[in-house]
């Protein structure tokens, strides 16, 4: 082989190697492997026919590189051995009982203390965002202690007192509608305590498909704002999480549980059993993210996880559809407690195509989250969903694309017509998006909802693709509510553990609807359903009338517009039992009404819980946009009243259970542990907690450039000599 060919081959190999390793640094699981694959190529290059000076430089670089790789692994070990004291471990068992449109669930958290000191466990975990938590009990080897509902601060004091006196105690508090904390005190060395939490929720019906979502992990969330100075010197602030409390998220440290590094393996196993009695003939049951086993016994369908247990690292979702002909169209439930009558109404509106002329052209603004939490699988799903949506636009529609992470970038200065050229540009842009940085949603929302006056003749829709991994939800809802104007906002929750509370409420304040995409195979089906909603006329002016009884309180008080396939769900409190009930509304200009009578009413327990939970949600919503201090206090008082009366955990009330006899003697120490959580499946630890990329490829480019120039000259010279 002569010099020339060797040189060309070498230069090519070097370019390929360098390009590959600089392209996608996060792809490889272990960067040292990446390094290893590049080294032989470079070593070969160094031995080849180079000028002695370049050779020398390359050799120096190589040895430097090898040294750094070595010290890297040393550093790694040093930082990896952090967990010296073994904290309590956790195993969770979930039993869900679905009956008609309601589900009751029991979550048993079994804490085991493997250490030889007494332990307190603090576990931050998610529940469905509409969960009405109404029971909690402690189960020790010998006793069962039922939890009581108390005002939050009072409950905390009750717990702290029992804890310091060495008694068994547990506290379940709400941090967000979908984030809760269990405190469990005085777990003896080597012993076990179980905390049982019970809640009720409603089944989501959308487009003829029923579904239930059980979230398992609170994903790391972006916390904006300046750290509060009170936190200085007192690590953690008000909670035990990895984030510090800030002026914009004063409870950040309570919603950011420590995250276990994925390479140490998954923790927190979960076992799930679902008893399904939907009240109609089931056609198909699916669980998109977990393998399940289905047994039929005595009219009840039992669903279990095929693997027995799974790590708590992604949402469990169960979906079922009705056999043709047995689809539910209305359900009416009643419950009487003393003098109070409660009713729960669920009606599926007639699904008729509207007889209207063509709907007005639309202006669709797509907002895509490209923050670090979206890195990997989530971003791929969001991108393919967005490309589908772009391809679906009609030429007289207008559109724009907004990308946000720590910064907000708008593709076009103003929304443009969806012609082939603009769409081509947009699709290329979307395909090229990469993820990094924080989930700074607020500026993106502002930009998406700004300058609406220019699009008055258009139906303006904002489609938001995000995992909602933020801790400042309240601030965002306020912005949506204030700036919405005539736009409608639709959220698409992306990834394995999206913040469902954000998805639902942002869509509610945005007067749109929400959906979820959890894996690539779901993209086209879920987006198709969303497109049908975006393109169809809404159901408006929904009212409920009950002759013979007075509606004392109704939640939601004003029923929002409904999109294709969505049912009407209303909880009522009445002064008397009722015989007949009418639901009326309009689709476009076509009025419709549905009448239900006594025979349709089913008595059932738990209707009052549903009503109380809806009332609490309405009271919390009312806090937004209300700035009068006194009114906020009143709202708070009303929330506390309804939560105490119905035994519910809320933003202001917690469940607390305490034992009477001390277990731990006061000379024995108690050690407090914040339980770690898994990183949600498919997430990239480095992209979330990693540091900024602090090197450019300037040197590399200059080196490659020089190398190519030198080899060019070299070939030329050898040829002239020949």
């Amino acid at each position: 082989m002569n010099h020339r060919t060797a040189l060309i081959a070498m230069a090519a190999a070097l370019c390929v190697a360098c390009f590959e390793s600089s392209q996608k640094p996060r792809d490889a699981a272990d960067p040292s492997m990446r390094l290893a694959s590049a080294l032989p190529v470079l070593e070969a290059a160094a031995e080849g026919a180079l000028t002695s000076e370049t050779k020398q430089r390359l050799r120096e670089q190589l040895s430097e590189w090898k040294r750094s790789a070595k010290s890297g692994t040393l550093l790694l070990r040093e930082h990896g051995a952090g967990e010296l004291v073994a904290g309590p471990t956790l195993a969770t068992k979930v039993e869900i009982d679905i009956s008609g449109p309601l589900a009751r669930s029991r979550v048993s958290q079994r804490f085991h203390n493997p250490g030889d000191t007494w332990a307190e466990g603090i576990y931050v975990f998610p529940l469905p965002d509409d969960a009405a938590v109404d029971h909690m009990r402690i189960r020790t080897r010998t006793r069962v202690l039922e939890g009581q509902i108390q005002e939050k601060e009072e409950a905390r004091k009750t717990y702290e007192r029992a804890k310091s006196e060495g008694r068994h105690a547990s506290l379940v508090a709400q941090e967000r509608p979908n984030v809760f904390t269990t405190h469990i005190a005085n777990i003896g060395p080597g012993s076990e305590i179980t905390v049982e939490i019970e809640y009720q929720q409603s089944i989501r019906l959308d487009g003829g498909e029923s579904s239930l979502r059980f979230p398992m992990v609170v994903g790391p969330r972006y916390v904006p704002g300046e750290p509060l100075s009170e936190g200085v010197g007192a690590p953690g602030g008000s909670g035990r999480g990895w984030a510090r409390d800030t002026d914009r998220v004063p409870d950040a440290s309570r919603v950011t549980p420590p995250v276990r590094r994925p390479r140490f393996g998954p923790i927190n196993p979960v076992e799930i059993t679902v008893d399904l009695a939907p009240g109609f003939e089931v056609d198909e049951i699916t669980s998109p993210y977990h393998d399940i086993v289905i047994d039929e016994a005595g009219g009840v369908t039992r669903v279990r996880l095929a693997e027995g247990t799974v790590p708590a690292d992604r949402d469990f979702v169960l979906r079922w559809t009705a056999a043709p002909g047995s689809e539910p169209d209305a359900a009416l439930f009643g419950e009487t407690l003393g003098d109070d009558h409660y009713a729960l109404v669920m009606v599926v509106p007639p699904n008729e195509p509207n007889g209207l002329a063509e709907p007005p052209p639309r202006e669709v603004v797509f907002v895509i989250d490209t923050s670090g939490s979206m890195a990997g699988a989530s971003l791929d799903q969001a991108k393919s969903a967005l490309v589908l949506a772009l391809e679906r636009l009609r030429p007289d529609d207008r559109f724009n694309v907004i990308e946000f992470n720590s910064e907000t970038t708008v593709l076009f200065p103003v929304a443009l017509h969806a012609d082939t050229r603009n769409l081509r540009r947009a699709i290329d842009y979307v395909r090229g998006l990469e993820s990094q940085g924080g989930t700074r949603i607020l500026p993106a929302i502002r930009v998406a909802l700004a300058h609406q006056h220019a699009s008055r003749s258009f139906l303006r829709q904002v489609v938001f693709l995000t995992d909602g991994s933020v801790a400042n939800e309240q601030e965002l809802f306020e912005a949506i509510r204030r700036d919405l104007g005539e736009s409608r906002l639709f959220t698409v929750g992306i990834g394995s553990a999206p913040n469902s509370h954000f998805m639902r409420k942002a869509a509610q304040f945005g007067r749109g609807s929400f959906s979820h995409i959890g894996k690539p195979e779901e993209v086209s089906e879920k987006m198709e359903r969303l497109f049908r909603k975006l393109e169809s006329v809404v159901l408006r002016d929904i009212t409920i009338e009950i002759p013979g009884a007075e509606i004392l309180e109704q939640y939601p008080a004003r029923i929002s517009d409904l999109y294709l396939g969505e049912p009407i769900v209303v909880a009522l409190k009445l002064d008397d039992a009722f015989d007949r009930l009418t639901v009326a509304g309009r689709t476009g200009n076509t009025p419709w009404r549905i009448e239900l009578d006594r025979d349709d009413v089913k008595e059932r327990r738990g209707v009052h819980v549903q009503w109380a939970r809806s009332k609490i949600a309405a009271l919390m919503d009312a806090r937004l946009g209300v700035h009068d201090e006194r009114t906020l206090d009143e709202l708070r008082e009303e929330t506390v009243d309804v939560a105490l009366a119905h035994h519910l955990v809320s933003a202001y009330t917690s469940l607390v259970a305490v034992d009477v006899t001390p277990e731990r003697r006061n000379y024995e120490a108690l050690r407090s542990h914040a339980l770690a959580t898994n990183l949600p499946a498919g997430w990239d630890f480095g992209a979330v907690f990693g540091m900024a990329q602090t090197a450019t490829n300037a040197g590399l480019r200059i080196a490659i450039g020089l190398l190519l120039i030198v080899s060019g000259c070299f070939i030329r010279m050898t040829r002239e000599i020949e």
């Binding site: 360098c18 704002g225 300046e226 720590s406 700074r440 040197g699 450039g705 080899s711 060019g712 070939i715």
Partner: protein, 197 residues
Amino acid sequence: MMLRLLPLLLFVVGMSQFAIGAWIPAKAALAQVLLERAWQNTNKRGERVRPWPWADTWPVARITLPRLGASWIVLSGASGRTLAFGPGHTDGSALPGERGAAIVSGHRDTHFASLRALRVADEILVERTDGTQIRYRVDELRVVDSRSARLRDPGIGRSLLLVTCWPFDAVTSGGPLRFVASASAHDDRLAMNDSPR
């Protein structure tokens, strides 16, 4: 024929790579000159000044290393786009000169190249947007693995963490190691020594 054109081809591709590579440090240096003006205005007006109309960042502080004769305008945010123009202040960390830990990242091969010569006990001057100046002293120099280490807030007074890629003269970018220089405010340290334990 192919072999005749090869030297030319290598030469052209080489030149373009060289030009792109050379533009990066040139831009980094040029941006700091433009930023100097924005900084003067920030000081005068006491509000955010975007250095050029389409910029998505603004100066938040000026950091000077007197012994090394280096000085930079620090920008808000630590995204790739921002770091091309100057060292970037990480969102969510304390602002330089305020209580808590301020994290400032920079490219090891442009602005922060001079950190290689930094020593413990070196002085760092931080000028805030209101014009006040705070003296810091370097306490510790470390190399950490960004995949496993998290920058910890020492939790006492005002501290400053300067972060850049390590090793300083690695050929490719995107490596996992970081060089971290932590410094604390001079006044806070004095105050701590005085205060009763």
